[in-house]
């Protein structure tokens, strides 16, 4: 899109004003995230740029907050907990979600709308309500303040993403392929692993990544149902921001941003691959 040669001065002004506005919105979107990165190398315990940092004095920069992060028992413990919880809940969410999506894509399934609504509900219901409900219920079952409780909760929150992405992949799925395989003598299990699975794999993986991200980033439910033993990274950040605010938070944030860049790239690559396989030209 470029300004046409016949445009009058008013239209030209409008055109440039529009571009400036869009640029401003893009800056608004990305600046808070980019600003964190240099701040995390601040040598002083402040949340703002010091004089030295602005003049690019090397002494004003340091990696002390990263060292603090990597030597603190509490942070290391929280990394371990986050990894454990995220791993199991992602695995559960991906398996249950993929099975359900396979069922949902079959035309024979009755009450499809109702079931879809139910399965998506963890994404719609505000987390604070889910957290309050789970707190009461899981306590009465005796699984609050345990890994099991937290993993089950995060699995429930992650499944909608898997269901949605896998259902989307299956919408372009050619069911004749399954029939052909059966016709050629393959057992249903064999067909599933050799034909269906490779084709829906991209959907499963990106759904699983969403679920992983959900668990890794989830703090509200964790605050309510996890005990001190299960303290995750977001819980540690939450109490860090509320209590003793230190640039260690920013160091952690920078690491998490790197993490999300990798995630974003993976999901994008998968999406393009999936579009290519399904014959949609990108």
């Amino acid at each position: 899109m470029s300004v046409p040669s016949y445009a009058g001065p008013l239209e030209r002004t409008w055109y440039y004003a529009f571009r400036v506005f869009c640029a401003a919105v893009f800056i608004f979107l990305i600046a808070p995230i980019l600003v964190i990165v240099p701040l995390s190398f601040n040598a002083e315990p402040y949340f703002s740029f010091t004089q030295g940092m602005l003049t690019l004095d090397p002494d004003a920069y340091s990696t002390r907050w990263y060292e603090e992060f990597l030597t603190s028992d509490r942070w290391l413990e929280s990394i371990k907990n986050s990894v454990i919880v995220a791993f199991f809940s992602t695995f559960l969410a991906a398996s249950l979600g993929t099975l359900a999506a396979l069922g949902l894509s079959r035309s024979e399934l009755p009450y499809k709308g109702l079931i879809m609504g139910l399965l998506i509900s963890p994404m719609i219901v505000p987390l604070i309500i889910a957290a309050a409900g789970m707190f009461f219920f899981y306590s009465s079952l005796g699984i609050s303040q345990s890994y099991v409780g937290l993993i089950l909760a995060h699995t429930a929150l992650g499944t909608p993403f898997v269901v949605i992405t896998v259902t989307a992949t299956l919408s372009g799925f050619d069911h004749n392929l399954v029939k052909a395989a059966a016709n050629l003598g393959a057992t249903p299990t064999y067909t599933f692993f050799k034909i269906t699975m490779p084709l829906i794999m991209t959907g499963v993986i990106s759904g699983a990544l969403f679920a992983l991200m959900t668990s890794f980033d989830e703090v509200i439910v964790a605050i309510f149902i996890a005990g001190v033993e299960q303290r995750t990274i977001p819980m540690q950040m939450w109490s860090g921001i509320r209590e003793q605010i230190s640039p260690t938070i920013l160091a952690v944030a920078t690491i998490l941003i790197t993490f999300s860049v990798i995630m974003l790239a993976t999901v994008e690559i998968l999406r393009r691959r999936s579009d290519r396989i399904r014959g949609i030209i990108s």
Partner: protein, 419 residues
């Protein structure tokens, strides 16, 4: 299976019947198979997610404390008409409950519950429980002697009202109403209203945030949709990266940006726009909540808008222009109506997400930027008034479900898109 065909080439009636039955059986088997695939997740969600919320629903009307820890009084009060002070039998029942409750040390639970209704009840119950071992029958005179509040008929009415195991009192309180001892429900004075005020604030701030995301998101989506796909995909990173970044990371970066010694204030002072001593208070108030939440929710507006705008052929706008419409008319009459589905999808999504927010308002909202979610958390962890938290949660849930109903009517559940 062998199919026999008669001379004319048609199936015999028995064969037709058998084939039909086979078909039915096979269709049924497929149906069962589909259900079996969905079943594990349905059961899982029902147990781990729906049951907790149902449990919360029950908890919001459940009120067992008085009934459980003052059982004899509760029962004796069933037949009391509330016209005049209870007689000796009821006072004797109360004395028995106080003795038993003091021994089991659980009378405090009933006292705390009664205190939610009328402050002073706790000290009345606990004080009498302390003195009960020295009290002799007749209990009526002795208890009134011990604490003259027992002669106040209103206190008895409150105990009678709470003696049933179920109550609407949490909802009444959550609507900023109070029940008089006579059972009449009325609004509390305006300066004492907390919950309705907070509900309104949550609603209008969520609307403001939604409006901000439309205002910022619409031009950007239009810009992205009008670019060639390759360029748009590159710029899309600027939208998707915030989308994928942890909520806490984004919230803490807004703290770094907006606080009085933060980057934005430093920048304004450095540019000479404001003096050093008049740094702007942009955080720990409603403004901080609006800015941070607009940033966090903006991608949820841009993504559906963009995907709708991609489907609007640019030739329509050109056709309108060449037919004599000025740019504004062409946009307003031709382009905008076609993007309405995107706006409504994005707006309802952002609005639903916004009214349930808790973390961001808690961290950057200060006093004036708190949402209803923060009050739920406060009752869960601070005041431990769990019935109240449950009632507020159910009200918020009803609100969200109502809006979600609109969403699925306009957009459809199956059209939810990610990334």
């Amino acid at each position: 299976m062998a199919i026999t065909v008669d001379a004319s080439g048609d199936l015999s009636p028995e064969e037709q019947k058998r084939l039909k039955a086979d078909l039915h059986r096979s269709l049924f088997r497929n149906k069962v198979r589909a259900c079996l695939l969905v079943a594990p997740l349905v059961v899982f969600i029902l147990v781990t997610f729906v049951a907790p919320i149902g449990n919360m629903l029950i908890r919001s009307v459940e009120d067992p404390q008085v009934n459980e820890y003052m059982p004899l009084t509760s029962e004796a009060l069933q037949d009391w008409d509330g016209q005049e002070l209870p007689d000796e039998t009821i006072f004797a029942a109360l004395a028995q409950d106080l003795i038993a409750g003091r021994e089991s040390k659980e009378i405090g639970k009933a006292a705390t519950r009664l205190n939610y209704e009328s402050s002073g009840m706790r000290s009345l119950i606990m004080g009498s429980a302390r003195k009960i071992s020295r009290i002799e029958p007749p209990y009526k005179e002795a208890l009134i002697e011990a604490d003259k509040d027992w002669a106040d008929i209103d206190n008895w009415k409150i105990i009678k009202r709470l003696s049933s195991s179920y109550t609407s009192s949490y909802y009444v309180a959550a609507l900023d109403m109070e029940t008089s001892p006579d059972g009449e429900v009325s609004f509390v004075p305006e300066n004492q209203q907390i919950y309705l005020k907070l509900f309104w604030r949550t609603l209008w701030m969520s609307m403001l945030i939604t409006a901000m995301t439309v205002l910022l998101g619409y031009p950007v989506s239009y810009f992205l949709a009008s670019l060639p796909v390759k360029k748009a995909n590159v710029l899309m990173i600027l939208v998707l990266l915030p989308f994928w970044t942890s909520l806490l990371v984004r919230t803490s970066s807004w703290i770094a940006m907006l606080q009085s010694q933060g980057i934005l204030n430093d920048l304004l002072v450095w540019m000479g726009i404001i003096a050093d001593e008049q740094r702007l208070q942009m955080i720990y108030n409603a403004l901080g909540t609006v800015i941070a939440m607009t940033h966090i929710l903006l991608p949820f507006m841009i993504l559906p808008l963009y995907s709708v705008m991609k489907t609007v052929p640019p030739s329509y706008l050109r056709a309108a222009r060449s037919l004599g419409a000025n740019p504004w008319t062409a946009f307003w009459q031709v382009y905008l109506p076609q993007t309405i589905p995107g706006i409504s999808a994005g707006a309802i999504l952002v609005f639903i997400l916004a009214i349930g927010y808790y973390i961001t308002p808690a961290l950057v909202g200060g006093q004036s930027g708190q949402f209803i979610g923060n009050l739920i958390a406060y009752h869960m962890q601070g005041s431990l008034n769990w019935g109240m938290a449950a009632a507020l949660g159910v009200m918020l849930l009803v609100l969200v479900m109502g809006i979600y109903g609109l969403y699925s009517r306009f957009v459809g559940v199956n059209n939810v898109k990610l990334g």
